[in-house]
Symmetry: C2
């Protein structure tokens, strides 16, 4: 039973277990922030979003409906268009063994802007995918009912992605009823193209994203526009235990027209490579890609590809964000080695690096001036050798490594589903890529990476019922930046920052939010991108140094933030469900917060020298403690203090004193922490023995009566809170 050399391994694992996951600095509950909701009864699956920035319209594709919403306030519906699967199609679909009530409906999966006057839309249409045009003037369907095969999945549960480029639709989906034939295709009247139906091309892919990257307009080499696809597929090159998934980037060229004899009506420019998102020295492998966002900004030399990943194996709650530079991607496709397959013992295939001669023009390369110069003006002219090679070698041997060779962010106990990224200039001029990352529990994390690491600015609960964030979209108009998120139950619109929620300079600066700065004169925390001009004395420090905040800033009292209470009334006997197991665990781990009952609520008369208790409780960062004062003097008596750690790392401290006094005495309890203090106070009045009698009794009775009445109101309010929360918990 010797343990042997596993120490080293244990050490590593331990480090991993402990080190991971910056905790969101603040968590906004659903009701704490101003989110705008849109959903209609009986409508579900708000999964496809399209933003028209010019028209300020958000188009939403849901189950059997398409909506046009005011993008400034999505609660304002401008149009709606019902698009149901016909009765006979639903019947046919049900006959084939699908559920008539759920699967045999029309789920909108493609929603693209064709031009100024039309949207191009496709829906699953009871497993008979159909596409049509929406006239934006009348917001009606054209009734074309084109066959949507290859553009839209048959099955609403299958993966899909699409992008409209110059009025041609590029899509990744499945081509048949069973969903067994994957396809990346271009829907085009002039030159429709598709992938070969072969394992080396696509092997059980899950499509997550597609986008176009335009060639540099100023370049003279005639480089083509390129369309990139992102998906996870079953590996051919690795043979792990079971099917190993591999995240891929694939690309095709816009000017591709297919081959003449070989690869006729097929891509001649389809190449794919592995996306690496791993921490090798910690044995962490993120091999399932869930979403991608391509950040294109005039302030960037080149686009940056952001991907969110989870591991396939042993995933009990790990997610990562990796970022890739476009030049790394282009290098792999334009200069990398190819893989080839070899047959072993007549039955097995092994993929190894191809070390032989590579035909000219380079297989899979876009037609540019160089190729054009050598008389290949079109892919139709490409030599058979090149076409044969690319048909058999679509997979690159080289992989795309992330910027910095490791993830930008690794987070434990969360599953990231979606990402969008905004690039903003902080007050001091530094540019930050602010990531908004959706989770499978309805929340969105806002994070930045800076010199010293990662910082999760905040977590916002977009969907109160903890549904997965299915779609995330960012409007980029200056001063009107919004996040839009779609889930099964609805759409939510959110500002990109909640600066006004910070009421003190320290809170505002410690948020380390590039959108927010403190205006000392107005004593308010503002979104700098909504301000007409920037003041010189505004305070912002992304590094988290709040020393510029004047020491005299007032301590907020009663404390900001929400505390949740349940009130167990007498008519409903206390039941186990009346406790609220986890409401505190998602609040701000850094803010200090006194919890009821505050000292001020404990006002009481005491008898002379009769002992009494006073209680204070609070939550705050680890290391926080109470200081009690009696008439302004730090108390000499023994103060009891209990503390324990909450799930989110904060401590909850309960402190009490037992004391007795002979005259009226003022007590304060201050909760002292590294991020600030909060204080509660009470005046203990001593029963005046001399005047004890009917007057005092009457006064006491009045006090008592008003206390009863106050209590009743409090009880009602708390009951509401409790019921809301309870409902939330039972969902």
């Amino acid at each position: 039973m010797a343990l042997g050399v596993f120490y080293a391994v244990w050490g590593l694992l331990l480090e991993v277990a402990i080190a991971f996951g910056p905790v969101p600095r603040i968590t906004w509950e659903h009701r704490e922030v101003q989110l705008i909701h849109f959903n209609e009864s009986k409508v579900s699956n708000y999964s496809t979003l399209l933003l028209s920035e010019d028209k300020n319209v958000l188009y939403v594709g849901a189950r059997e409906v398409i909506f046009a919403l005011n993008a400034v306030n999505i609660a304002e519906k401008q149009h709606e268009l019902h698009w149901k699967a016909a009765e006979d199609k639903r019947t046919k679909c049900a006959v084939k063994g699908k559920s008539e009530q759920t699967e045999c409906r029309n789920y909108v999966r493609v929603l693209q802007q064709l031009n100024d006057t039309f949207l191009y839309v496709c829906g699953t249409n009871a497993f008979q995918p159909t596409c049509d045009y929406v006239n934006l003037t009348s917001f009606e369907l054209g009734g074309k009912n084109e066959d949507g095969k290859g553009r839209c999945p048959f099955d609403p549960a299958q993966s899909y992605t699409s992008v409209m480029v110059d009025e041609e639709l590029y899509s990744g989906t499945s081509y048949n009823f069973l969903g067994s034939e994957p396809i990346i295709s271009r829907h085009s009247h002039q030159s429709p193209l598709r992938t070969e139906y072969a394992i080396p091309w696509l092997n059980e892919p899950n499509f997550v994203f597609a986008d176009v990257i335009r060639a540099d307009q100023n370049s003279t080499d005639g480089e083509d526009d390129k369309i990139y696809f992102f998906f996870t597929e079953v590996s051919v090159e690795y043979e792990c235990i079971g099917k190993l998934m591999i995240p891929r980037i694939a690309r095709v060229c816009k000017r591709d027209q297919g081959g003449l004899r070989i690869l006729q009506k097929k891509w001649t420019s389809f190449l794919k490579a592995r996306l690496i998102c791993t921490i090798p020295d910690k044995n962490l492998i993120f091999n399932v890609i869930n979403d991608v966002f391509i950040l294109k900004s005039p302030t960037l030399k080149e686009p940056v590809i952001y991907g969110v990943f989870t591991p396939q194996l042993n995933n009990v709650g790990l997610s990562a964000v990796c970022a890739y530079s476009l030049s790394t991607v282009e290098e792999v496709f334009s200069k990398g080695k190819y893989m080839q397959s070899a047959i072993v013992e007549q039955a097995h295939t092994k993929w190894v690096r191809y070390n032989g001669e590579i035909p000219n023009p380079r297989p899979g390369a876009c037609i540019n001036n160089e190729a054009g110069g050598s008389s290949y003006m079109s892919s139709l002219n490409l030599p058979d050798k090149t076409l044969q090679f690319v048909r058999d070698h679509p997979l690159m041997d080289d992989s795309v490594t992330p910027m910095g060779d490791r993830p930008r962010l690794v987070k434990q106990d969360v599953k990231y589903t979606q990402i969008v990224v905004d690039r903003v200039r902080a007050l001091n001029g530094t540019m930050y890529d602010v990531m908004f990352i959706g989770t499978d529990r309805g929340a969105v994390h806002k994070a930045i990476s800076y010199e010293n690491g990662m910082h999760i600015i905040e977590e916002t609960q977009f969907f109160p019922d903890f549904e997965p964030v299915q779609t995330l979209l960012l409007s980029s108009k200056t001063g009107r930046k919004y996040l839009f998120a779609g889930s099964n139950s609805g759409v939510v619109q959110s500002p990109v920052a909640f600066c006004d929620k910070y009421t003190t300079c320290v809170d505002c600066v410690l948020a380390r939010d590039p959108y927010c700065a403190w205006k000392p004169l107005e004593a308010s925390c503002v979104d700098i991108f909504k301000e007409a001009e920037i003041g010189r004395n505004w305070i912002q420090n992304i590094g988290g140094d709040a020393s510029s905040c004047s020491a005299s800033s007032p301590i907020p009292f009663p404390p900001t933030g929400t505390s949740f209470l349940s009130c167990v009334g007498s008519d409903s006997p206390p039941s186990p469900t009346s406790t609220q197991p986890d409401v505190w665990s998602s609040t701000d781990p850094i803010k200090v917060m006194l919890l009821p009952p505050f000292l001020s609520d404990q006002t009481q008369h005491v008898s002379v020298r009769g002992p009494f208790h006073l209680f204070c409780q609070a939550t705050g960062p680890d290391g926080s403690y109470f200081v009690w004062k009696k008439n302004g003097q730090t108390m000499k008596a023994c103060i009891m203090e209990q503390s324990h750690v909450l799930l989110d790392g904060r401590v909850h401290v309960l402190s009490w004193v037992k004391d007795s006094v002979s005259e009226n005495t003022e007590y304060t309890c201050s909760f002292v922490s590294e991020v600030g203090n909060v204080t509660s106070e009470v005046l203990i009045t001593v029963e005046d023995k001399g005047s004890a009698g009917q007057d005092a009794w009457t006064k006491d009775f009045d006090t008592w009566r008003s206390a009863i009445s106050e209590h009743a109101t409090m009880m009602q309010n708390w009951r509401k809170t409790w019921e809301t929360c309870n409902k939330k918990n039972s969902l």
Copy 2:
């Protein structure tokens, strides 16, 4: 940004994240239970334990010392033997670049009973492994100083395992200074044997365990005794991302004498197979084996192999126990397919199933009567074809699957390092395999598996400084069963059960510990294996049904268990270190426990109708709640209740009432949970206005004085508790 088909995957992952890991029903802190310690100052690395059940001696191999301890009380040292590396060897070792103070010492790694009079011992001896004999009469070394190469590692950080079979040592270790040449060998004067130095035989193995399984004495087929080795090695058959580790079982036959021309002085019976410990439908792969225990019991048809595993990839705290039947193992080796390697493109190797003809006698099979009958009386006679085949095909294509096709136990947030298993008969006659599993944080989990799943009976903190459990040993003498655990800092002896720690019938029965039963007449919880006879009315229920406990058993008050408090005095100003972040999180998650201040401590006089507060706080299982009574009647007033979840899953509930009374009133708060209730009570006395005056004042003053004095005592006690706890935390 479409999410696509990942719902299904998310659902699965979510389930995994939530479902795993039974929580230990009770946790014993280091000081709460009677553990016997042994360690000597300046001695470290108590890593090799050997128990002589006949002599009741525990031999301990540490750094440069061997101890003989009384196995009934290891605090009693019987002998010690210093065995240092010679000065010149240490110098040489240091010259080669190793640390003279740490690595260039003599770490005892082999400690085996040769016969009644001698131990066989080997040590790393400053990277020049040496073996010797310990005379058990004089407890002195023989001074033979045999070269220990191949029996003991050079490097104390490298893995090793050994087993003594019929005075011959079988060991798995590394054969050279660099540790790059792994070896499984037999040290024998007649027939020393070893493995080929070739990747297909051993590929960077980490040895964890070896044991012999004797052939059935009653069998007539002349089957040989077999020695099994367990290790993790780098896979040759899988090509995952990076080096994929594979847990292996290998075996050799005792009568093996090597080949004559081929495999001369090498094993002709070396075969190895993959041990499977996975949950494929949850994508969980436990591919690193950390320890093995082979359970041999007369009540078992055949030995059962228990292994503890962790994942290599994405391991942020997952462990599993898998159990294998010996017949499954034998089936794989005696009838399974072999693997073969094929060369691909002149540079790559791929391992695939061998489907060709298998030579006769079967390669790697032990010589038994069947083989003997066909004139192969010894491995020396085996035909070249058989020998060549086994040399090139040591790896089986078939794998060893666990009993029930899945782990016996999967636990999150823990790293299991060691395992021993005891088989015990419960009161009702059912046999249970009780697993004792060491963790890398110095704790031992005691767990059973039963029809409906797994149950972790208890967690005991063996090593207060959270060091990894390096060795675990079980003495099996009836009535004298002990666990012995070795770590870097010392050895701990523990009883196998702490029945007497349960003070109520419900606690005793709900422990679901097969060792423990409740004796109703004596009202005590006893270890049934220490009792002379078993009473008919004793209560035990491994299923967890405590209804047999009479309903009248008293509710303990004040509650059992420890509560930790800190008392911040006036002389030492409160400092951040005075909070105790995590002391509650390691106590029993099931027991309910009221926390101070109890109601009884809140005794106070109140003025007529003056409002006052009463507080109760408690911890217990999720769903527990408070019931308040006023003069025996469930309170009609609004009761405030706050609850939050602690790190270990329990809830902490704080409840208070604000009330006012005109006459003396009794209040009780009961904390109600599924595992029992605890109650606190107080009598609130109302200031008698009529007699208010000097008498009352004097009485109050006396009360106050005695309260001050009580407080001082409490404060001192709490300070002690706090200091102890604080020390523990800072270790």
